[in-house]
């Protein structure tokens, strides 16, 4: 009887009833796939968006639901965020890959839905994406906050280009009360501040001693998105991120709500709004990610109990020793040139011997011919000073070697590895010093296994 009463209350409207029945139907179908031993995830994604479309407005999403827009896959953000939430026993529903499609997003939500309450089985929803379709179609019902950490000119595969993406964002947020958290070091993102009336929180990094006062690579983001005059940058953290103002109109980076200052890569310390925070990288992306964690913790009211959690982050785990040689994995996304550039910047410019293994089998997971544009939106010339030998591997080794030669890297440094079986011999017998790996996700495991054979 109690169950029936509760059922009656739940089914108070026709829409709710339809939603509950849709959820039940979805769960039944996926269960059937599961018991017939099919790849249920693959099959779920064939129909999940159709189910989700029907019920998306009836789902009760967590109060804290963040859509994070990024140009690159972002474990550095996610890992401390999850550990922070775990620390206070909060469950996070999240996605692993930012190239996640609408179908994958739908499956993520539906798989975490409770049958009758229509609530998500978690306290926080965290969804990272680089796809405008998610923003266009799913932002409104699902998320309390849209966080724009980065938009890069390279976000071309699914979005056309950064300008198209920005137009979609402005159109979508215009009629919706979503709160915005914006990295205004990026002039294109800063445009939103001037163009909409939503509640906005901004963040950015003040000028640092590591900045360049000339462009790192040619970037069309150097033009004012309001009046198209050339922006005056007082410093560049990355090719499209820095401190700037327009000389012709009121468009200005200004002082963000959360200002990162006194960045010190040697002491691994910085200040956010005058609070000291430690970090373990030499990478501006990491600082943006850390700041983002700080802001989200602050928004959720858990900062005081968790700032230590940010400070206690583990040292870079992507480091290991083989045959007494330090191996360091540089995190990159091959189709995102900023991540390549920044990985190169993290190789120290000292006199110790250093070697780089570089190789991509796929620049983009979506293109069969491997568009190599990202190689030419990146500057490799620093490798002349920083490395002793560069080992080119993988299916695109000659594309990479070509790029290195175009940047006048000494051809004696460049070693072509035509057969991966030769890598260990050449690397361990013909070079000394640390080994940096700059390889794509498809081959990293294989390369690590090959290197480990040296020890066995």
């Amino acid at each position: 009887m109690i169950f029936l009463k509760r059922f009656d209350t739940i089914m108070q409207t026709e829409e709710v009833m339809k939603a509950v029945l849709t959820i039940i139907l979805y769960k039944m179908i996926t269960f059937l796939y599961h018991i017939f031993n099919r790849n249920d995830k693959k099959y779920q994604e064939k129909f999940s968006d159709k189910f989700y479309e029907k019920i998306k407005d009836e789902i009760i999403y967590p109060i804290d639901s963040f859509c994070i827009l990024n140009s690159y896959n972002n474990e550095e953000f996610r890992e401390p965020f999850m550990s922070m939430l775990k620390n206070i026993n909060k469950k996070v529903i999240w996605n692993k890959n930012i190239t996640c499609s609408k179908k994958e997003f739908s499956a993520l939500i539906l798989n975490n839905l409770k049958f009758f309450s229509r609530k998500l089985n978690g306290d926080v929803l965290l969804f990272e994406t680089s796809d405008y379709n998610i923003i266009k179609d799913y932002l409104k019902p699902a998320f309390s906050h849209l966080v724009i950490n980065d938009i890069g000119r390279e976000m071309s595969i699914t979005n056309g280009n950064a300008d198209n993406f920005m137009n979609i964002i402005l159109e979508t947020i215009k009629n919706c009360n979503i709160k915005l958290i914006l990295n205004i070091d990026n002039p294109l993102i800063n445009k939103i501040k001037y163009a909409c009336g939503n509640e906005i929180t901004t963040y950015g990094i003040a000028q640092t001693k590591y900045d360049s006062n000339t462009p790192l690579t040619p970037s069309d983001f150097n033009y004012c998105p309001s009046c198209q005059s050339k922006l005056e940058f007082s410093s560049y953290h990355l090719p499209h991120l820095g401190v700037y103002k327009c000389p012709m109109c009121s468009f200005d980076r200004g002082t963000p709500n959360f200002l990162v200052d006194e960045v010190d890569f040697d002491k691994k310390q910085l200040k956010i709004n005058n609070n000291i925070v430690n970090f373990f990288s030499s990478n501006f992306f990491e600082i943006y990610n850390l700041t983002l964690n700080y802001i989200l913790a602050s928004k959720m009211g858990i900062l005081n109990t968790n700032v230590d959690c940010l400070n206690r982050r583990k040292e870079n785990i992507n480091e290991f020793i083989i045959a007494s040689r330090k191996i360091k994995i540089l995190k990159i996304q091959p189709d995102c040139p900023s991540t390549i550039l920044h990985s190169l910047l993290t190789i120290p410019n000292d006199k110790k011997e250093k070697n780089l293994v570089i190789g991509f089998d796929e620049f983009s997971m979506k293109h069969k011919l491997n568009d190599i544009s990202s190689l030419y939106n990146t500057d490799f010339s620093s490798l002349n000073e920083k490395t002793d030998k560069i080992y080119c591997i993988g299916k695109c080794k000659y594309d990479i070697a070509t790029r290195l030669e175009f940047d006048h890297i000494d051809s004696k440094k460049i070693i072509m590895i035509k057969d991966l079986k030769d890598l260990n011999y050449k690397l361990f017998n013909e070079s000394k010093g640390d080994i940096y790996l700059l390889v794509d996700i498809n081959i990293i495991e294989n390369i690590i296994n090959i290197l480990k054979e040296k020890d066995s």
Binding site: N161, Y223, Y376
Partner: protein, 238 residues
């Protein structure tokens, strides 16, 4: 007498969306091998562009916003550009830059922009962008080996229509007129397609009266062959 090639990289900071800088690097590298001096001038909005001074004018692809900015500037040089093309100056326009030399760009909203009107084609904005890999076969490069392929990446929002001009390959999204070459392929086209780069440079050197030596054993050709083997011959492309 000193041999020199002068190149103007037009709107290098606005029309450089997908690594088009690579095309300039390729030209630099290939021309250096010919033992000919090279001067590259990077020009953009606000610069006074002289369309008689340079031997090759290169313009790459950009966002639609940037394209409109550039169009506004280029229209000031309309007569000078037309004269330069008629006089056999070499132009290479890649990505959506090709649109600028046609009659109009027509948007889905019904609005249209007048372009340089040097060629008769129009660019019509599509409902969905074209984002794809692309392979063309260029008959003039066909020596029985795989050198005939021109491959690249296309990311554009328009279709080229009414293109009655002479073409490099049998698709409407390219044009060849005297020494003007327009191709709707984005990114480092000349790096990926060294046979085509040699072809273009041979024409350029002819126009200058310089001898051109064909080198085909360099790293770019190895990259080309690697790409053909990995992604063209051994793949199931549509």
């Amino acid at each position: 007498m000193k041999k020199i090639i002068k190149i103007a990289h037009l709107y290098y900071d606005l029309m450089n969306l997908y690594g088009e800088d690579g095309n300039i690097l390729a030209l630099e590298r290939f021309i250096e091998r010919q033992k000919v001096d090279i001067e590259i001038h990077k020009l953009t909005l606000g610069d006074n562009i002289d369309f008689r001074k340079y031997d090759l004018y290169y313009i790459g692809g950009g966002t639609e916003n940037n394209e409109h900015l550039v169009l506004g500037d280029l229209l000031h040089y309309k007569i000078a550009i037309k004269e330069a093309i008629e006089n056999g100056k070499m132009f290479l326009a890649t990505g959506n830059a090709m649109e600028l030399f046609g009659r109009k760009i027509r948007l889905r909203t019904g609005r249209s922009y007048d372009c340089l009107n040097i060629f008769g084609y129009n660019a019509i904005e599509l409902e969905n962008r074209i984002v794809t890999d692309i392979i063309y076969e260029f008959p003039e490069l066909d020596d029985g080996s795989s050198s005939k392929y021109i491959f690249g990446f296309k990311n554009c929002s328009t279709n080229i229509v009414n293109n009655d001009g002479e073409k490099i390959f049998s698709f409407p999204d390219n044009i060849r007129y005297k020494n003007f070459y327009g191709i709707m392929i984005n990114g480092p086209l000349l790096v990926r397609n060294p046979y085509f780069t040699n072809y273009i440079l041979e024409k350029l050197f002819q126009s200058k009266g310089y001898e051109f030596v064909v080198y085909e054993n360099t790293i770019e050709f190895k990259a080309y062959q690697e790409c053909v083997n990995n992604f063209v011959l051994n793949s199931n492309l549509d």
